[in-house]
């Protein structure tokens, strides 16, 4: 079988995500953007722990599997030591918003000149579907078996909004990969984020809503529909800050 010419060589090998998972789409989008911006040979990925770490097995580039949650700190130093490389921390919601909330927030707060891509699938995927800081109200997970009770767990965190409202970041957006129009839009967000980094103007973050059929115990199509109907109602899609590039 002949390969599509459009597969970026950066990711032209099998990945080990579950069927219906959104990670593969997001990674492909990142790789396409890098290639289109001429940065495929100028990229370093600090990678989170969790399903996001599977990027490491699927991509041939400088990459470091960081300790859980610490990619924001690792990326800070990589970008400051190698300011001419594009640095993208690739993390999940558990890595970036739970165990790594300090590192993620602090990098945004300092306006570090790298890009963070955060895959939000509203649960801890790798460990088998526990509640995360983005689990929806009343969502059932392995550690919220009766549904998430926000009166004791707090409310799901909306990080791009936080970064946009509170910090002087360069770019903050939320996309989704549940259908083709949104995949296209998400790609444009990722591209803008990398362009922001190339301009040197500031921190950029793109959260990507992503289906997790395995842990949501849904068929892939059902999971896509769940994002459209439920996840996006709590996590609105769009751009929250878009600083002028100089």
């Amino acid at each position: 079988m002949s390969k599509s010419k459009k597969v970026p060589y950066l990711v032209d090998r099998p990945m080990s995500f579950c069927p219906g998972c959104g990670h593969g789409i997001a990674i492909r989008l990142v790789a396409e953007c890098l290639e289109e911006l001429g940065q495929a040979d100028n990229i370093v990925f600090p990678i989170g722990v969790g399903c996001s770490s599977l990027l490491g097995g699927g991509i041939e580039a400088d990459r470091l599997h960081c300790s859980h949650g610490r990619a924001g700190a690792v990326a800070t130093a990589i970008k400051r030591c190698n300011p001419n490389n594009v640095v993208i921390s690739y993390q999940g919601d558990g890595d970036a918003y739970s165990i790594g909330i300090g590192e993620t927030t602090s990098a945004a707060y300092r306006n570090e000149r790298f890009t963070t891509i955060i895959i939000n699938n509203t649960n801890y995927g790798m460990t088998g579907g526990q509640m995360s800081n983005t689990t929806l109200p009343n969502q059932k997970t392995n550690t919220s078996v009766y549904g998430r009770d926000c009166s004791v767990t707090g409310n799901p965190i909306r990080f791009p909004e936080l970064a946009a409202d509170q910090f002087n970041v360069g770019y903050a957006a939320r996309g989704s990969v549940h259908d083709v129009p949104n995949i296209r839009k998400t790609k444009s967000y990722i591209k803008k984020a990398i362009e922001m980094q190339l301009s040197g103007e500031g921190y950029s973050v793109v959260e990507v809503l992503s289906p997790c059929p395995t842990n949501w115990k849904m068929e892939p199509l059902e999971a896509m529909k769940h994002i459209a109907e439920h996840v996006t109602t709590y996590f609105p899609l769009g751009e929250f800050v878009e600083k002028e590039e100089k």
Partner: protein, 352 residues
């Protein structure tokens, strides 16, 4: 003539001269002057300084810098180094060189600010998860601290390991005349990230842990064979040998010399590399030695364990091993002499 220089300042400047170009960390007494110094000094040498949001973020920034081939250093003290263990095991796992300074303060938990040696076990065993060791260097003067800082970077680079610079709070705060090392202009390590995936050694995802284990043991055995360092006096005919490191080690040399002058056959081993432990120093000890006595600034005695194990390996007969933990501070020469007298008079029970 050398000028008086504060330990922490000398340590920081020596690191710069040894080639350090990234500092990331979080302030904690009694190590803070190192960070304060680096905050302006790094800029002068086109290095990177980051005031991290936490100890954990600090050590992870060291990982990021080291992965780019930059000579990286962070400094902290007891509780801060506890938080850094995650990063130190990661550095070890990725075989990234870095220097971690622990200006040890006394106590469990958040502890106290007293100068102490209570972190010996953690630093010499590797306090994070997994199977790793760090090279542990223990200075006893400001001058020696600057020399060991250069060595710390050189050994970290040579073996691609973490060098722990384990000193005591008091050494960072005290001043002594000090000749700084020469400024070195070094290129980055040749294998760091360049965005082009030129070097495929860092960030390996497909691992063969069994093969790696063999290589790891070979590396650690080479370090043990080649890098033991110590200072010893009068051990060849000694009835008793004092063993200590750092500032208590320095005071113990004074005590051993005075005891010798008073007619006691006393020797002294000052440990400089706590890991690899200087077993070779013990091979030079009188085979008929009656006892080893460790002088320590902690509560429970820690160095004593390595001394007893090493005595078992190097001396043909069972030798009594005693320990006097002075808890914190620097024991006076007089106090250490009394420790020895207590042993000779049977007033101190052996630990092993």
């Amino acid at each position: 003539m050398a000028d008086m220089m504060k330990g922490n300042v000398a340590i920081a400047e020596a690191a710069i001269r040894a080639g350090a170009r990234l500092y990331a960390g979080y302030p904690i007494t009694p190590s803070t002057e190192i960070m304060e110094y680096m905050s302006w000094r790094m800029a002068e040498v086109d290095g990177v300084f980051v005031q991290a949001e936490s100890e954990i973020a600090g050590i992870n920034m060291i990982i990021g810098g080291a992965a780019c081939g930059v000579r990286a250093i962070t400094a902290s003290s007891g509780p801060g180094i506890s938080l850094k263990q995650e990063g130190m095991t990661t550095l070890s796992d990725e075989e990234l060189p870095a220097v971690v300074v622990n200006m040890v303060r006394y106590g469990n938990g958040i502890g106290t600010l007293y100068s102490a040696q209570c972190d010996y076990h953690r630093e010499t065993r590797g306090g994070g998860n997994g199977d790793y060791r760090c090279i542990v260097l223990c200075p006893s003067s400001v001058q020696e601290a600057t020399e060991l800082m250069v060595l710390a970077f050189d050994l970290a680079e040579k073996y691609r390991m973490v060098s722990v610079f384990m000193s005591e709070g008091a050494l960072g705060q005290m001043m002594e005349p000090c000749e700084l090392p020469e400024m070195r202009e070094l290129p980055r390590y040749p294998w760091g990230f360049d965005g082009k995936y030129t070097n495929k050694k860092v960030g390996i995802f497909d691992r063969n842990s069994r093969d790696e284990a063999v290589l790891l043991n070979e590396k650690y055995n080479a370090v043990k064979e080649n890098e033991q360092r110590w200072e010893s006096i009068d051990v060849e005919d000694a009835d008793y040998v004092l063993v200590a490191y750092g500032l208590p080690g320095r005071a113990s040399i004074g005590a051993a010399k005075e005891l010798r002058a008073e007619g006691y056959k006393v020797g002294m081993i000052r440990v400089i590399t706590a890991w690899p432990f200087p077993e070779k120093a013990f091979q030079e000890v009188n085979p008929n030695v009656k006892g080893f006595i460790t002088i320590e600034a902690n509560a429970t005695g820690q160095l004593i364990d390595d001394v007893a194990l090493t005595a078992l390996r190097t001396i043909d007969k069972k030798v009594q091993c005693y320990c006097r933990p002075h808890v914190y501070g620097i024991p006076s020469v007089k106090a250490i002499k009394q420790d020895f007298i207590d042993v000779v008079n049977g007033n101190m029970k052996e630990v092993y």
